[in-house]
Amino acid sequence: MIQSTACVYRQNTAIAWREIDGEAVLIDPSTGTVFVLNRVGARIWDLLSEPRTQFELVGCIASENDLGVESVENDVAQFIAALDARALIGVER
């Protein structure tokens, strides 16, 4: 479920993870399931070490990749929703 852009997201601090060559490997603490995030996903994950709104994340990713906000907006929203669905991030509404 995609949350409102006003929500504030942050990493679930129970997640063990390491950045590896620009990508990220995460372990779900409850199941032991492993997730590999590509470079953009790892960058968003890194940004989520601090509380961020979806608006802020979209702005950062668009700016860092010389892309328009509208071209990354949907991908970032879907990625955030996927992290949320797996409880890899916390949400403050």
Binding site: W17, I20, V25, I27, P29, V34
Partner: protein, 288 residues
């Protein structure tokens, strides 16, 4: 719960010496016989007492063990056996139901989980992999794979080609030094260890197993994919706490930085030997 007695031996799991007491009776004899190459009288670092549960729980095939780590305590509970281990004190108990056939496997399941958590604390880990030493004895190969991937098959094939099998199911990876090491364990699938295992052998490569009609070896260049692939072959991660999981990631990352990780497609013959840098054995058994 019924205490069994004081008869004890030391079981060596890599460099970890586990003192097992309560080895009286048929269960004790079965344990000593199963782990014979790894049994000694040496000083133990941690101690585990075997006990009996009062009665059999009956049909238990639908129940899987539930494991939890809380602080310094590991608790594993299922109807047929229970284990508690205090990491701070280095002491624990394993209590098993009176089952003449399966009790030894209940004990092994508990020993595997306890060993994993103790090893993780040391920067080592149990890897669900076959481990085979090259005939020259100077390097070892790890073949991670889930049940049915072919760990016992490739172990048997390579043993026939002059290799020394460290285990066909579970080996220890020690990535605390510059060159990762592979160690034998007493835990096996279908190939019991036939002779004393070398203590530690430098690891040459990981070969993730995949059975296929044609052999092929593919380097996994992406370190994060390599770590994730190995992670999926680390048992008991579901009972790790956050600290264990971080140490696990660090250990695997050090390992994949030091040695290559390949995907090995193989079939049930020796056609994969050239991919491993081994020659096909001659009738005289000479290898290079």
């Amino acid at each position: 719960m019924i205490r069994r007695g004081q008869s004890s031996r030391t079981l060596r799991v890599g460099d970890l010496a586990i003192g097992l007491s309560g080895l009286e009776g048929p269960l004790g004899r079965a344990i000593v016989e199963r782990y014979e190459p790894f049994i000694s009288e040496e000083h133990a670092e941690i101690r585990i007492e075997l006990c009996d549960l009062d009665e059999s729980p009956g049909e238990t095939s639908g129940y899987a063990p539930v494991s939890r780590v809380s602080g310094d305590l590991l608790a594993i509970v299922c109807p047929s056996w229970t284990a508690l281990f205090d990491f701070e004190r280095g002491e624990g108990i394993i209590a098993v139901a009176p089952d003449p056939v399966r009790a030894v496997y209940f004990v092994e399941n508990a020993l595997r989980q306890i060993s994993q958590l103790v090893l993780i604390e040391r920067g080592e880990l149990l890897l669900h992999a076959a481990g085979v030493v090259h005939p020259f004895g100077d390097r070892a190969f790890a073949f991670p794979g889930h049940s049915g991937a072919g760990k016992s098959t490739i172990s048997g094939l390579l043993e026939g080609a002059g290799g020394h099998v460290l285990s066909d199911d579970l080996v220890i990876l020690d990535a605390s030094s510059e060159r990762p090491l592979l160690r034998a364990t007493p835990f096996f699938g279908t190939l019991p260890p036939q002779r004393p295992a070398p203590s530690s052998i430098p690891l040459e490569a990981f070969h993730l197993l995949e059975q296929a009609p044609e052999p092929a070896l593919t380097l996994i260049e992406d370190a994060s994919t390599a770590v994730a692939s190995l992670l999926s072959n680390v048992p008991f991660t579901e009972c790790f706490d956050h600290g264990h999981q971080e140490r696990l990631l660090d250990t695997l990352l050090r390992a994949v930085r030091a040695v290559p990780v390949h995907a090995l497609r193989f079939r049930r013959d020796l056609s994969m030997l050239p991919f491993l840098g081994w020659r096909t054995p001659t009738p005289e058994g000479v290898l290079s």
